[in-house]
């Protein structure tokens, strides 16, 4: 097994880690970088729990080999809040009840953040289309859609 020293930006800070070829970003974030906000759900790119931004593009951290990320900029749910202060998107999830058990929430927040960066004024349909790949077994989705639409309206 080959080992790779990779340097990337993690939530704005430069970071170098040594990873074996078979490690996926999800495990490196959780085990090496101790950022456990990114969750493992299905582990095969379907559920969206491990949604992260790689070079500003929404991806599944479970399907990305860490060894391929040298030079990339990675953002996780931990990089979205201003320290301890929640941003309006997170606050909207609280106010609209956009979660119950919470396991999918970090992925929902990161996916919504990616949408709002690309399209600051999405319609409800845009939100449903974009978030379609982020599964939630609790809410029935209405509250999540409401939260994202509200966050967009508040800017």
């Amino acid at each position: 097994m080959s080992r790779h020293s990779i340097t990337f930006k993690l939530n704005g800070a430069k970071r170098t880690v040594s990873v074996e070829a078979n490690r996926v970003l999800l495990d490196v974030l959780r085990d090496d970088c101790k950022l456990t906000g990114t969750k493992e759900g299905c582990g095969i790119g379907v559920c969206g729990s491990c949604s992260v931004l790689i070079d500003d593009r929404l991806m599944s951290a479970c399907l990305v080999l860490a060894a391929t990320l040298d030079g990339c900029a990675i953002r996780t749910v931990e990089g979205i809040a201003n320290g301890e202060a929640l941003v309006s998107l997170q606050d909207a999830f609280l106010r609209h009840g956009g979660f119950q058990c919470g396991i999918c929430t970090p992925g929902q927040i990161v996916a919504a953040k990616a949408l709002l960066e690309r399209n600051p004024h999405p319609s409800e349909r845009d939100v449903r289309e974009w978030m379609m790949g982020n599964l939630c077994r609790c809410t029935g989705y209405y509250q999540i859609v409401e939260a994202v639409v509200a966050a967009a309206e508040e800017g």
Binding site: M1, R57, L65
Partner: protein, 285 residues
């Protein structure tokens, strides 16, 4: 899942690496297919050759002949959003926008999609309906393979060991060509299709079909070009009866497999229904 990973900076370096790895070597483009298969234990490569550092594989451009050239590492999302692709043939961009979820489209590449050769994948039927060619490089040479001849079986292509897909080349559609890709999704929108159909068609002012391509996904071990249905339409008035007749022919050409998305018999019937819908949609457009 124990392997050596290398990222050559040039195609020549990739050929060297593939030679060293022999039959245990796999090429990594976006990774959505290969990493998934490795995680499920279905592929156990000893050697993985990443293409990401090789220049010249990420461009979308128009060739001297007016065709569209798409580099093998261009992602689905880049094709979906490309103004150039939309101007060239909007249904092609729309087809890439129908694949899985935004996360997958941001990571998966067109080259990786084709080499993965999943028979239920969305882009292959549309690329077949556009007479696309797949540009394949190997040490000391380049060849092109028509998209309709590229797929050999489930997860199997016409690629030889040591070959790398570098681009997809699409000839300019004749003026007036219309296209549609329809995808039957009884469960969720990010699912693979139960049956999918791509059609390109050109009608004379009289309503006679001058040319047509029909290709289906998820109805056999490879994407399928429905040549007999095309022949039934070419040179004819595309009436509802003619569409019904062509769609009925498709039923005899498909060889679907039973799986969680439907029984073979159900998919055969859905191939007829969705072929009819795809052509009807284009005629009334």
């Amino acid at each position: 899942m124990a392997f050596e990973y290398v990222e050559p900076a040039t195609l020549a370096g990739a050929f060297d690496a593939l030679e060293r790895g022999g039959t245990d070597a796999h090429v990594l483009a976006g990774g959505t297919a290969l990493v998934l298969l490795m995680r499920m234990g279905l592929v156990q490569p000893a050697y993985v050759v990443g293409l990401r550092r090789i220049e010249g594989l990420r461009e979308i451009g128009i060739s001297k002949e007016g065709g569209l050239d798409i580099g093998a590492l261009v992602t689905h999302a880049e094709i979906e959003r490309s103004a150039l692709v939309r101007r060239f043939f909007a249904p092609l961009a729309e087809t890439f926008g129908r694949v899985a979820s935004v996360r997958i489209r941001n990571q998966a590449t067109i080259g990786g999609n084709l080499v993965h050769a999943d028979p239920a994948s969305d882009p292959p039927p549309m690329l077949i309906a556009l007479d696309a060619e797949i540009v394949v490089a190997r040490r000391g040479g380049v060849r092109t393979i028509p998209a309709a001849e590229f797929f050999r079986d489930v997860f199997e292509t016409a690629l030889e060991p040591g070959e790398v897909v570098t681009a997809i080349r699409i000839p300019p559609p004749v003026d007036g060509t219309r296209g549609a890709y329809v995808k039957f999704l009884p469960a969720s929108k990010d699912d693979f299709a139960t049956v999918s159909v791509a059609v390109t068609i050109r009608l004379a002012a009289s309503g006679v079909c001058e040319d047509v391509r029909v290709a289906l996904g998820a109805v056999a071990t490879t994407p399928l070009r429905a040549r007999r249905a095309e022949e039934a339409l070419r040179g004819k008035h595309v009436t509802p009866e003619a569409i019904d007749a062509a769609a009925a022919i498709v039923v005899g050409d498909v060889e679907p497999l039973d799986d969680g998305r439907g029984s073979a018999g159900y998919k055969r019937e859905m191939a007829r229904v969705w072929t009819r819908r795809a052509i009807t949609q284009l005629i009334s457009a």
